[in-house]
Amino acid sequence: MNIIECYKGGYNELRKTIIHHCLNLVNADVFTPEEFRHLLHWNQKLAMVSSWEVMVRKATRCRFLYWHRALFPLLLQEIITDRHRLNQMNYFLMALRDPIDMLYNIRHLQNPQLAVDNYKKEIYDTFTENVIKPICRITEEELRKQIHQIMIPNLNQINPMQERIRDLTKYTRMNDLYLFEKQINMGYEIKKYLAEVFYEMTALSPHDFCTYEYMRCLAQDKLGIVVMSSHLPAQ
């Protein structure tokens, strides 16, 4: 096979090697430095375009993040505080999925699935602790604050002209998140959390059931979340 034949038809690794060897044998009498530079540029372009899928995969995979797992909680906290980044969280979660392919190749354990499961568990825990729980707590806190300001007469009222009002709908209206094989709907997570808290609090102090009923109504009105009724007898 000569160099001309290598350029006819498909381009593969063997052909690439032959072309490389042939170009090593070319001297300055055949091509001017300018021509040779062009030739090298076209060859590079040919190699890049022919194997673009492999190159894109290599250039965009984020397997290295596995070695910086300690940063995940901090990065997730940063994402939830930035309202412009909330709906882009799926990109970050996609990147967290990349080390899994690498983990399937480990040899120090009898079964690499163990390492994969441990990694997934770690990520799920980090996600719950740094995304789901803080968002649910903020929502509860905000609802509680507003209701208490109405129910407790001497409590300081929030002045919206001086203090910034938190917009919680950004959490309830978030796109579905995909973490490994799980689909997470933040609105549903908040709803589940509030239902649990309202039930427990009503069971603990039945005389205070009214507060939680108001909070339930406020959640529906303000956030569009229909929190399940506790069905506990009122005192």
Partner: protein, 117 residues
């Protein structure tokens, strides 16, 4: 970068060499951008790790943005996979043709040198 909406595809364009050249450059630019972002991010993270220094909070948005950009590039390529593969065949043919023309010019020089000898 890979915005094919600005350059609408039609079969007429596939015979246009400048269109193929633009597409080839776009593919190359996408790959180069992703490689650069990944390299910079890895170096940035490893420098902090190597020096055992604490990462400033201001660097978190930058790290997140870099990761998001990498994944956005990946998705963009994936969604346009069909279109890109359609162009790749033609880009290869066009590039090979240019290379062969260049080589043939070089071969003529070699034959001329041989005939002198």
């Amino acid at each position: 970068m890979m915005n094919s909406d600005t350059l609408k595809d039609s079969d007429q364009m596939l015979s246009n060499k400048s269109f193929l050249n633009i597409r080839a450059n776009q593919i190359a630019a996408g790959i180069k951008l992703a490689t650069e972002i990944k390299r910079s991010l890895k170096v940035y993270l490893l420098l902090f790790q190597e020096n055992n220094s604490e990462m400033p909070k201001t660097s978190f948005p930058v790290i997140i943005q870099a990761i998001e950009m990498l994944k956005a590039i990946e998705i963009e390529f994936k969604t346009k996979k069909f279109l890109i593969n359609k162009w790749v065949i033609l880009i290869n043919r066009y590039t090979c043709e240019s290379i062969m023309q260049q080589i043939e010019r070089g071969m003529q020089k070699v034959y001329a040198m041989k005939s002198k000898v």
